[in-house]
């Protein structure tokens, strides 16, 4: 499928790059060489230091030590502009787009056509159309970016880099937000770009994609480069072993089988709707029943209504139509605080936006979900000595470091913040647990520990709704997989008999199952 490029000329060389953020070492003595005209993949788990390395290469932050050589010459970048001047373009995982400007305006931003005294949208549009033809990448030039689908926004990002004269293109987790079909299109475009002489650095943690696209691959682990291999001479298992650092089989521990008994419904959504918005399908008459003692996994590509589903189930948002039942009682009108009091636990998808205030202490974060039942509760002390001791114990138990209730969340690492949220949500043995992307930003060991706890809660009779972008994870944890597309449930799969690839057909709307 991929042939190694003829050229062995090295266009990017990083030597001994080290970068620290306070006590955290993001990159330690990293070395990397990229050949002209190849697609070079960089793989590693979350937090392995891939993104930091790339932002150093793009001049967004300076390394503490080490050297950057472009075309054999040592370079020091003071800002992204220096890197851009040398032909290094970057497509960030979180798009750097101004949402209310048009795609043409976004593409030319900072490198506008015309003179400083005159450069209007029409010039920009004309110039951008030229780019479209040259690279065969199409987007509507006069539409505000916020109205474009995610895939089109990504094309705007790529065009932006190309407009700036990029000959080395860095893509940071470009497939995370795309459907499998869009991924295929992206890959064929990237191959086209390669044949027109552009070097591509492709960051991912999805080994299947790396195998399909790249010429060479560099594995990173814990801030260090482990090895660089030629893709055709390796396989997924070898890469996985290098990423994790020990020979673990990709499946891990077998999943405990749920106790079979008659299970009543804990959370039921009936004909729930939410409005369609740009980049988000909303929900269209969705029915879902979560029963006691089961883990329901949600598989969907971003923007197909799964976030609305979580928020409506939790009571953070209200549906525009339909009802939500908790243990048979209608709770549609109750907000998340009232539902928590009934026995609901909720780990929001976006940790910093919804789960943790950085200026709160661990103990305050922990106690924030405790809802007073009457007015006198509001006036009682927020925290007793017993509370504090219990929180310290739970933090110990969930391996939150440091296990000090008085520490500010701001000073904790992302993984520890997430573990603190688990400790908070799982401590009270809730009847229904909603987990939105719970393993985002935590390492495999912590994920394993979390799964153990989820299974234990399930075996005690809790109903769990589990939303994850990682299909493999979903299939190894859940008892039942529900596939969503365009705001509807399009399929239900049994992970015992089905495999992740079965889900992807439904996720794109290509296949339809009869429910």
């Amino acid at each position: 499928m991929t042939s190694a490029p003829n050229s062995t000329e090295i266009c990017v060389e990083l030597k001994g790059i080290t970068k620290r953020f306070g006590a955290v070492v993001a990159n330690e003595d990293v070395s990397l060489d990229v050949r002209s005209g190849e697609i070079h993949a960089i793989v590693g788990e979350n937090g392995a230091g891939k993104s930091t390395l790339m932002s150093i290469l793009h001049g967004m932050q300076p390394p503490d030590s080490g050297h950057i050589l472009i075309d054999g010459k040592e370079r020091i970048f003071h800002s992204a502009r220096d890197a851009i001047a040398l032909g290094i373009g970057m497509v960030h995982q979180h798009f750097m787009l101004a949402p209310s400007l048009t795609s043409a305006e976004n593409i030319v931003l900072g490198y506008e056509p015309g003179t400083p005294l005159k450069s209007n949208t029409r010039d920009a549009t004309a110039l951008v159309r030229e780019l479209f033809d040259r690279f065969d990448l199409q987007v509507p030039p006069d539409t505000p970016v916020r109205e474009l689908a995610i895939g089109a926004q990504q094309r705007v990002e790529i065009l932006k880099a190309l407009h700036r004269g990029a000959r080395i293109l860095i893509l940071d987790e470009p497939t995370a937000v795309l459907s499998p079909e869009e991924v295929e299109t992206l890959f064929s475009r990237l191959r086209n770009l390669r044949s027109s002489g552009i070097t591509i650095i492709f960051i991912s943690h999805k080994l299947r994609e790396v195998m399909a696209l790249s010429d060479r691959v560099t594995v990173m682990r814990r801030g260090k480069t482990v090895e660089t291999l030629t893709t055709s001479q390796t396989d997924q298992n070898q890469l996985a072993d290098l990423m994790v650092g020990s020979s673990v089989s990709s499946d891990g521990k077998p999943r405990p089988v749920p106790a079979s008994r008659v299970r009543e419904s804990v959370l039921r959504l009936q004909s729930v709707r939410s409005p369609t918005r740009p980049g988000n399908s909303g929900l269209k008459d969705l029915d879902l029943d979560i029963r006691s003692g089961e883990i329901v996994g949600i598989a969907a590509i971003e923007g197909n209504g799964q976030s609305d589903l979580m928020e409506i189930a939790a009571g953070v948002a209200s549906p525009s139509a339909g009802q939500v039942f908790f243990r048979g009682n209608d709770v549609t009108r109750l907000h998340v605080g009232q539902r928590r009091a009934l026995g609901l636990a909720y780990v929001p998808e976006d940790r910093h936006r919804d789960a943790i205030a950085l200026d709160s202490t661990a103990a305050e974060t922990f106690l924030s979900t405790r809802r007073p039942q009457n007015w006198i509760d509001w006036l009682r002390p927020a925290m007793s000595a017993a509370d504090k001791a219990r929180i310290a114990d739970l933090m110990q138990d969930f391996d939150v470091r440091p296990a000090d209730p008085d520490v500010l969340c701001r000073s904790m690492s992302g993984g520890n913040q997430q573990k603190l949220v688990f400790a908070r949500e799982l401590a009270d043995n809730a009847d229904c647990i909603l987990l939105g992307q719970p393993t985002r930003g935590i390492d495999i060991g912590a994920s394993r520990a979390l799964f153990e706890r989820i299974w234990r809660s399930r075996d005690k009779g809790a109903g769990v709704l589990f939303l994850s972008a990682d299909l493999d994870e979903l299939f190894s944890v859940a008892d039942r997989i529900v596939v969503m597309f365009d705001g509807r449930i399009v399929s239900e799969l049994d992970p015992q008999s089905a495999a992740p690839r079965d889900a992807s057909g439904f996720m794109t709307g290509a296949a339809h199952a009869v429910l």
Partner: protein, 373 residues
């Protein structure tokens, strides 16, 4: 916006902070006075004689600080909850007008009851205005900063209208209400001074608010609202209800401060009474960084500085606004202190990169400040 852990108010760190801030005020004040051609020593003596030299003077400082303490609480709890009610100024004035009306037209009544009535009427008047702004913010997303700033002009003019037309005392100059009945006046605590037994009321309010905002569950959730509304919502707080409560209660305290002034010292509302007092309260809340005990302290310090500046004006001839200028400069420093701290740190790192010297004394002071919370 820097926000701080609310619960403990440790004295030693607080003391360091107070001394540091006072030191800065003294230095800026001395420099300002020198530039203006006055002797800082003479000014300092004048300041002392005008404010601390005798019971009468000290009572004057305390009496002036009482409404400032209450409105300072209003500003603190509002900003702490993440809402910027800049209409405290006019809510205080409307509270004074409402209190003045209740003090004259209702009664005579049993005095404690009548005083309570005046205070409650004033508080409610402020609360109603704040509630309207809050409703617009919470339900229609009208930016409360701009709407409350505009509301100031409307509400103050309305209060002046009340004093000029429907509730005017015909025997007085234009735009003054009737003097409130004796039963609505707070009894004097130290005769010959303006200090009334109202001081006990303020102490009680302070204790209650201290409990609520530094100890109770309500205060903790309140602070969470200020740190992140989205986190508060996911934690189960009804953010609309809380938003209404935060704004309305700050308006209530502002109105209460106005009515307190009427009952304790002024005894009637007239046009231009208490102009600027609400903004003073906002400044006090900011310099105290939204902590209840610190508000009490800084309100006392602020009124001391105002009276001291009056003394200086009489003795040395420097306009008393110089005190406000100095205070404003210090508060700007407080508002950007974290950035300032980073800047000093970066500067220090560059400076001491090779020699590796430890922290400067000034830096330790700043750090202590930061831990002070």
């Amino acid at each position: 916006m820097p926000s701080f852990k609310p619960v403990p108010f440790r004295l030693p760190a607080g003391l360091v902070e107070v001394l540091a801030t006072f030191g800065i005020i003294a230095v800026i004040g001395a420099i300002t006075l020198s530039i203006m051609g006055a002797s800082p020593v003479a000014a300092g003596l004048a300041a002392f004689h005008g404010t601390l030299d005798g019971t009468y003077e000290i009572a004057g400082v305390v009496a002036l600080s009482l409404p400032l303490i209450i409105v300072g609480f209003g500003a603190s709890i509002c900003f702490k909850g993440g809402y910027y009610n800049l209409g405290l100024e006019s809510q205080l004035i409307l509270g004074a007008a409402a209190g003045s009306i209740a003090g004259y037209y209702a009664g005579p009544l049993w005095s404690p009851f009548h005083i309570t009535l005046v205070l409650v009427c004033g508080g409610l008047a402020g609360a109603v205005v704040a509630a309207v702004i809050a409703w617009l913010r919470v339900h229609l997303n009208v930016d409360e900063v701009v709407s409350s700033l505009l509301s100031n002009y409307i509400v103050i003019l309305f209060a002046i209208f009340l004093a000029t037309y429907p509730f005017r005392d015909e025997s007085r100059f234009n735009g003054a209400m009737h003097r409130i009945l004796p039963s609505a006046r707070m009894p004097t605590m130290i005769s010959g001074t303006e200090l009334t037994w109202g001081v006990l009321f303020v102490v009680a309010v302070s204790l209650v608010l201290f409990w609520i905002f530094h100890r109770s569950k309500l205060g903790q959730d309140w602070a969470l609202m200020g740190r992140s509304v989205t986190v508060a919502r996911s934690a189960g707080i009804d953010v609309k209800k809380f938003g209404m409560m935060i704004m309305t209660s700050s308006g209530f305290l502002a109105g209460l401060a106005g009515a307190f002034m009427i009952s304790a010292t002024q005894h009637r509302y007239f046009a231009n009474l208490a102009l600027g007092l609400g903004f003073d309260g906002i400044l006090i809340g900011m310099i105290a960084r939204y902590r209840i005990p610190a508000v009490v302290f800084w309100a006392l310090a602020y009124s001391w500085m105002l009276l001291a500046a009056d003394g200086i004006e009489q003795e040395v001839g420097i306009p008393s606004e110089f005190a406000q200028v100095v205070i404003a400069i210090v508060i700007l420093g407080v508002a950007v202190r974290l950035g300032l701290l980073q800047w000093v740190r970066g500067w220090r790192q560059r400076w001491f990169k090779s020699s590796g010297t430890g922290s400067l004394p000034a830096m330790r002071m700043f750090s202590a400040n930061r831990e002070g919370r």
